[in-house]
């Protein structure tokens, strides 16, 4: 179909939602995708471009001129426009902005480009419906109609005073009911949630979720209304945050996907493997220093993997619970109470595991009972230790303002491996007296 029958292609694609077109384009090769993009009218193109994944979008943008990109960006809401433009090089960003026809739109984009990625300002769109407290309902409806043309979805109407300070909000419902001659100052709701442009995006996500908001106005430190953040941007923040935590727990530095290049994937994964490797080498030297004197008890070495696997698993479990508890605020804020709980939990799990391991090694493997008891005791000690370390480290990191998610995964596994093996041999030495 891709061979030049333009009218047909357009006919075919016109019925599709832009998210679906984006999906189709990702499957085809870049030349065809660019061809189709140039064919579509620019309102549709801009929407399709926004839905493409970053890699494909980058490739297509490379083939377009600054003027063509400026046309697409002119069609987008400011928040989406900024997302797209920020992927270009600095020089090209300037070129594209200079080509945008609507001066106000260009200025808004320049304003938004200044914000860092992780603060509220970066998620904000300049498009919103705002009314002055001194207007009448009739004037308000008229102005709103004009403003609503530019705004994809009206959530709330924000009320400002003469200095553009945010003083309240107005719901469409209230406006439907109010008398046409009333002044806005008589009907608006003075209670309005808002965030500052410098607020952390995760905090914004928490606020919007807690109060079930679908849009929230953004103000500067003088309470001047700057823009608004909508729930769809927050959904992305929540998802990205969850993915980041998940990847850290799995030992992958953030921001890679299954279809990234081998080089990018190596950079994300190798550092964690190195941590694990040095941990393994540390464990090797511990084993070496004990095994010389071990004599008949060389069988102890066979159970090193058991100790290690248990220590690693318990550590990851404890730290994951703490990391999630910290993220959700569902955790007891008292460090000692939390540690005591993990201690008890470790003791319960440890006793269960130790008992089973003791029976299996003694009766199935024929290990001498003294060695089996040593293994059991070591398992209890190691599980309790791993649970405590797994709880302690993320809480401490969080108190120091470091993302506790880095403490999960290979980092906690490795330190627990090494400590666990050390504890095992110390207990064995004491019990068996070698």
């Amino acid at each position: 179909i891709e061979s030049k029958d333009d009218a047909n292609i357009l006919d075919l694609l016109n019925d599709y939602h832009h998210a679906d077109i984006a999906e189709i384009l990702e499957e085809t090769d870049i030349n065809n995708a660019t061809y189709v993009i140039k064919l579509l009218d620019s309102e549709k193109t801009s929407e399709v471009l926004m839905e493409l994944d970053e890699d494909t979008r980058e490739k297509i943008l490379d083939t377009l001129s600054a003027k063509e990109i400026a046309e697409e960006i002119g069609e987008l809401d400011t928040d989406d426009a900024v997302d797209m433009i920020s992927e270009l090089s600095d020089d090209r960003q300037l070129l594209v902005i200079n080509h945008i026809e609507d001066q106000e739109h260009a200025q808004h984009i320049k304003d938004l480009l200044r914000y860092d990625d992780n603060i509220a300002g970066s998620l904000m769109a300049k498009e919103l419906v705002k009314v002055n407290e001194n207007w009448t309902v009739t004037r308000c409806v008229k102005e709103m109609r004009a403003q609503a043309e530019e705004v994809t979805r009206v959530h709330s109407i924000y009320v400002v005073d003469d200095n553009q300070k945010l003083i309240g909000r107005l719901s469409l419902k209230d406006l439907l009911i109010a008398s046409p001659r009333a002044h806005i100052s008589e009907v608006y709701i003075p209670k309005v949630d808002y965030v500052y442009d410098s607020e952390d995006v995760e905090e914004v996500a928490n606020i919007m979720q807690k109060y079930d908001l679908e849009a929230i106005p953004v103000v500067d430190k003088n309470h001047i209304l700057l823009g608004r953040i909508t729930i769809d941007d927050i959904v992305d923040v929540i998802r990205e945050e969850a993915e980041k935590d998940y990847q850290l727990a799995a030992g992958i530095t953030r921001d890679v996907e299954a279809d990234d290049s081998i080089w990018k994937l190596t950079i994300a994964r190798l550092p964690w493997l190195l941590i694990g490797m040095f941990g393994g080498l540390g464990a090797a030297s511990i084993i070496n220093s004990f095994s010389g004197a071990m004599g008949d008890y060389i069988i102890l070495l066979s159970f090193v993997p058991l100790i290690q696997a248990t220590a690693g698993n318990v550590g990851v479990q404890s730290s994951a619970i703490v990391v999630q508890g910290l993220a959700n605020n569902t955790m007891d804020s008292n460090l000692f109470r939390q540690l005591f709980k993990e201690f008890t939990l470790g003791l319960v799990n440890g006793l269960a595991i130790a008992l089973i391991a003791l029976c299996v090694t003694h009766f199935a493997f024929g290990t001498p009972y003294k060695v089996s008891i040593t293994i059991g005791l070591a398992l209890i000690a190691v599980i309790v230790m791993a649970a405590l370390i797994g709880t302690f480290i993320p809480i401490i990191l969080d108190k120091r303002g470091i993302d506790p998610a880095v403490a999960t995964g290979p980092f906690i596994t490795t330190s627990n491996d090494v400590f666990g093996i050390l504890i095992y041999f110390v207990i064995a030495k004491a019990m068996l007296g070698f």
Copy 2:
């Protein structure tokens, strides 16, 4: 403050948002919380109850009579009402429903209670604004005002035919602009996204995210409009899904939180520790069967933790990437291409790790070069194997309709541990000839 000065407490709490009141109540003891709940008027109480965490809510509901609960539920939207009522025992559910004064509301709740937890119907609210295609714009505005009283937030106006079949939607914006005498059939938008009540909730979340929807109508198999799902419920689905995956990766069966009881936490964690334990015992018997013939090469045992840690880390990394890729649809759907990529990636990472380990063991530990080379080769083989297993298993599980997230965490770590140690000794035997 909690000692009987009712007027003061009410004054104090009236200024707070219900989410904040819920947070305060969770901190105080149950008796005080119940006391405060009974003090507040029922509109506010019902909102506060919805925001409480499940455990606290359950305890408070236990102290209320069926009639009191019915009053609270009468104030809630149907979707929230169903969430709350479904936590009660079956007998109590009936009692409470019989006490609800508004018969229609009670019938809606009964309808919604029939849906399973994981299908679209369970997230649906019956409250929505719908208009008939044959109405005029004037009549429509009048009817909407009456309907809007009941609906917390109007997202879209749904258009139905005389048989209550969903045929399109109407935006508030269009309605503001339309001539008062026009018929709805002339101004409505016939293209409308919808889901069936039997659709999987994750699929609903995907559709709403893909098309950036803030509400979606739900229809039955005959396209009769049943209700709508709003984005705030979907945000919860996304967050829960992410948490579930994260906990599975960490070896915790779903649905526990840091403040749960020790017994609940043990149930969630012990099974995974048992998997790890049996893996460890398996590894022990492999080591036993080789170590007898090992003679001078007993030093090989020291490096078992190194092999094991590396195999575990690589396996978790690979499986996490695949699990996320499957969830996001960002992954190459061709199994062999994906496996080949992981193979190459494993080779690159393996060579790097092996080279470092070879140098460290030979020069720093003084291991004979033959043993160091054995360790290096084993590391490469183990990394490649772990990467392939970590990729293969989740893809296979996904193809068979099993949630691939179960394959991450202890499950993959344990199988890679055991295979890794086996490969290590097989290579060592071949290289060193014992």
